[in-house]
């Protein structure tokens, strides 16, 4: 595998992981849970 292909694969993997974590923040359960916890701090 040449350098460019490897670099593209790494970039794709990083983007997928970041997207998955971002989606975790947007799941209704987590958003409500986080929001309750954030709000309860104030």
């Amino acid at each position: 595998m040449n350098h460019r292909a490897r670099s593209a694969l790494v970039t794709l993997a990083v983007a997928l992981v970041l997207a998955a974590v971002f989606l975790a923040y947007l799941s209704p359960h987590l958003v409500v849970d986080l929001a309750n916890r954030v709000w309860s701090c104030f």
């Binding site: 970041l18 971002f22 987590l30 958003v31 986080l34 929001a35 309750n36 954030v38 309860s40």
Partner: protein, 417 residues
């Protein structure tokens, strides 16, 4: 645009040791360590509600422990850095991992406010000083070619940013699924993983005739604090800490006061986390091509502009998301250029210790950002004053970084006293 002189004091010294660890090994292990150490601590706010309710404590008890943790992190940083420079980062990382695990377990078992402050505050603060940027950056400075150093620091900082981004939902799920105490035990086990990862940062001992200390700790400190660029850099980093922690802690309540839905705040926090990963990486990469003091000046200037527009523009979910994305890019992007400048000026020998001193300034700023945010809100009834104070500090930090010179300091003769 001025060219960057990548020479530093280590590479200019003919007696300097060769690079000893492979860059990929240093980056992989360093990034994994910082992901864990920065990530675990980032979700501590989620424990406030379950711990205070379960133990019957006030929120102040929890807040005091977190304040002590941040200050202990900053104060122990130079000491941990000095030990890492002297005895090797490996030992400091292993001790830090053990302290981290011990702190999390005793945090779960603490039944009094004092014990909680000792564990969640003091122990975890010291643990973080031994497992975060300054210690890992020392290894990078000694083992990565100066031409790639800023980029390597950017990769590591981005890993820390990713850890912060990742661990909030992970810790939320752990608390919801297993309870807060079991969640802390699991996080303690995760912190122990730092110890085997530290093996990848274990630097072999070099022959004493080539690597014996050319400078003592005291002379390195005198040299750094007498050097105007170091003082300017340290002053600028104070502002970074002030802004980041003020926004992170107080923005949710600011949005609530303005009548926005809770989901807006959580999405904003997610956006900050996501764009922070890109920002730290890009800042590190840019440091290889552009003068780093200018990068820092640009970051602080953009922060001032972003905050000004955010405060003056009508507040909508869209404006919040836009602000969160922009401030996310600028969030920890100061970390790679600041530390790379320290390494470039003074060399790698005392990189961790000097990085620890610069970070102490960051933590004092963090403490004031949280405290002043609350204090001025109580006094004036709004966050307006603190937002504008944040803008003013940003302008000062931008100006403070302009005269910073990133070229290697010229030493007339080896200093041994």
């Amino acid at each position: 645009m001025a060219c960057i002189d990548f020479q530093d004091n280590d590479r200019m010294n003919p007696a300097s040791p060769p690079l000893r660890l492979s860059m990929s090994q240093v980056l992989l292990c360093g990034a994994a360590i910082v992901t864990l150490s920065m990530g675990i601590r980032h979700g501590f706010g989620l424990f406030l509600q379950p711990i205070t309710m379960d133990r019957g404590w006030s929120r102040e008890t929890f807040a005091i422990a977190m304040a002590v943790q941040n200050l202990a992190w900053g104060l122990a940083g130079p000491v941990a850095g000095m030990w890492a420079d002297r005895f090797g980062a490996f030992r400091v990382l292993v001790i830090g991992a053990l302290l981290y695990a011990l702190g999390l377990v005793t945090m779960a078992m603490a039944t009094s406010g004092a014990a909680f402050t000792g564990s969640a505050g003091l122990l975890l603060g010291m643990a973080q000083s031994g497992t975060t940027y300054a210690v890992v950056y020392g290894v990078i400075a000694r083992n990565v070619d100066p031409k790639k150093r800023s980029w390597a620091m950017g990769i590591t900082a981005a890993a820390g940013s990713f850890g912060q981004f990742l661990m909030v939902p992970v810790e939320s799920h752990l608390i919801s699924g297993l309870g807060w105490q079991n969640a802390l035990f699991i996080l303690g086990c995760a912190a122990l993983a730092i110890a085997p990862l530290a093996l990848g940062l274990r630097e072999p001992k070099a022959a004493p005739n080539t690597t014996g200390p050319s400078q003592s700790v005291s002379s390195a400190l005198r040299e750094a604090f007498a050097y105007p660029s170091f003082r300017w850099l340290t002053a600028g980093y104070f502002v970074c800490g002030f802004q980041v922690v003020f926004i992170g802690v107080h923005m949710p309540s600011y949005l609530r006061d303005k009548g926005l839905a809770p989901e807006v705040a959580t999405t904003a926090l997610a956006l900050i986390g996501l764009f922070n990963v890109f920002g730290t990486y890009v800042a590190g990469s840019l440091g290889q091509r552009l003068p780093k003091p200018y990068i820092l000046t640009a970051i602080y200037t953009l922060r001032a502009v972003a905050i000004t527009i955010f405060v003056l523009a009508p507040l909508t979910p869209f404006s919040v998301y836009l602000f969160a994305s922009v401030i996310g890019v600028l969030w920890l992007s100061t970390v790679p250029p600041t530390n790379a400048i320290v390494a470039q000026i003074f060399g790698a020998q005392y990189m961790s210790m000097l990085g620890g001193f610069v970070f102490l300034s960051h933590q004092i700023g963090s403490f004031l950002g949280v405290w002043l945010g609350g204090r001025l809100f109580d006094t004036t009834g709004s966050y307006t004053v603190v937002w504008w104070l944040s803008v003013a500090l940003s302008v000062l930090a931008a100006l403070a970084n302009l005269p910073v010179r990133e070229t290697a300091i010229v030493r007339s003769a080896p200093q041994t006293t």
